[in-house]
């Protein structure tokens, strides 16, 4: 059996310049991702993936999502198929995949020049 490890995907959501001001919540993104993954790959892949949002910055619309190493490509593929969030056209753009949170946070600071938010333990 393949050794399962974690992968952390740094992604951003691109909105149209004239999009209505909307707060994209963590729950909304997770629901869209679950739906897209479920539609494309079915129940088995979806429950195996072990999706978890590690960080989410709703102001800059940047986040880090955790997934297992086997389902990494499936998650990125399902991200590509999300075209709308609450009727507003969006583009999910994955920037970097890493094996540790520390490295992903380092890339966050490097790419976006913003400080990632503290982890929410809710």
């Amino acid at each position: 059996m393949k050794n399962i490890r974690q992968r952390y995907i740094l992604f951003e959501i691109i909105l149209p310049p004239k999009a209505p001001a909307m707060e994209i919540s963590q729950e909304l993104i997770m629901k869209a991702l679950w739906d897209s993954l479920f539609t494309l790959f079915g129940q088995k892949k979806t429950f195996n993936a072990g999706l978890w949002m590690i960080r989410w910055d709703s102001m800059h619309r940047i986040g880090i999502i955790r997934v297992d190493n086997v389902s990494k490509l499936e998650l990125i593929a399902s991200m590509a198929f999300i075209r709308k969030l609450e009727g507003v056209p969006v583009i999910f753009h994955s920037r970097k995949t890493s094996g540790t949170v520390k490295k992903t946070l380092k890339r966050w600071r490097e790419f976006f020049k913003t400080e990632p938010p503290k982890r929410d333990f809710k």
């Binding site: 691109i14 149209p16 310049p17 494309l40 790959f41 490509l73 499936e74 990125i76 593929a77 991200m79 590509a80 198929f81 075209r83 056209p89 583009i91 999910f92 753009h93 994955s94 920037r95």
Partner: protein, 267 residues
């Protein structure tokens, strides 16, 4: 270096600027700007996105030489591309004679089998574009063989897959699957771009190269090596081909200048 195989030219400068910025944000470093008329081609050359004068390059050429074509106006390196949609084979031939001397990549798009066959035979055609499902049905094994023989690129658009839903998407995936079985990705030169078209429904359907690679690997089960060829390597090759043609490095068929020494260097 990732190139988007097709972004449409827009006479409205703001719209085009937004599209270029969005393409850059999605992770592309270059793009082929698509137009269909002579007027649009001239407007593009006058726009400042593409240098009118041929930049001076240092030899030997590599993929980094492409950066000399970057203009101050845009973060992307843009190259012109004309998509011909001829009504019959005679029109195609006259169109090719008209466009072959100009600074652009020539793509042909048609649902007619005869036109596709003529295009696949013609060495002047750089690319056969298959933007949607309707264009697949006329491709036969013979045409694929000609395409392979003449080293023509097959341009596929991801936008179509993104904008289709339900069983239409499944059929499209099946078509791709059949196509990759008939014409193997390691022997044929596929280009899988984001495929942004002028159509209203495709206006917000750009996706980055990472996403396209992930879809091809996970959904269609292609090996990562072939996917990289489709998404990155072939577009780079096409850009280099354009650059060589633009710099008049092809003297005769089969003869190409690969290095040039300055007079001072010789002395």
């Amino acid at each position: 270096m990732y190139f988007n195989s097709c972004i449409p030219w827009d006479a409205d400068e703001n719209k085009f600027r937004n599209l270029v910025d969005l393409t850059f944000k999605c992770g592309y470093q270059g793009a082929f700007v698509d137009f269909s008329t002579d007027k649009e081609y001239r407007a593009f050359l006058d726009s400042g996105y593409f240098s009118k004068k041929r930049p001076r390059l240092t030899f030997p050429l590599s993929i980094n030489s492409i950066t000399h074509y970057r203009s101050e106006l845009s973060p992307l390196i843009v190259f012109p591309r004309i998509t011909l949609e001829p009504k019959n084979a005679h029109v195609l031939k006259s169109d090719l004679a008209k466009w072959v001397g100009r600074r652009c990549i020539i793509a042909v798009q048609s649902t007619d089998k005869t036109i596709l066959e003529v295009a696949a035979r013609d060495g002047r055609v750089d690319m056969i574009s298959l933007p949607s499902m309707g264009y697949f049905k006329d491709l036969s094994k013979g045409i694929y063989s000609l395409i392979k023989q003449n080293r023509i690129y097959i341009d596929l658009h991801f936008g179509e897959l993104l904008t289709s839903y339900g069983n239409k998407r499944t059929r499209l995936l099946r078509n791709y699957f059949k196509m990759f079985k008939q014409a193997k990705p390691f022997s044929h030169r596929y280009i899988f771009g984001s495929g942004h078209t002028r159509s209203e429904k495709h206006l917000w359907s750009l996706s980055g190269p990472r996403e396209i690679s992930a879809v091809l690997t996970s959904l269609l089960g292609l090996p990562e090596k072939h996917v990289k060829m489709m998404v990155r390597d072939h577009t780079e090759q096409l850009a280099l081909l354009f650059l060589k043609r633009d710099q008049h490095l092809f003297i005769e068929p089969g003869i190409e200048i690969v290095d040039r020494k300055d007079k001072e260097e010789k002395e």
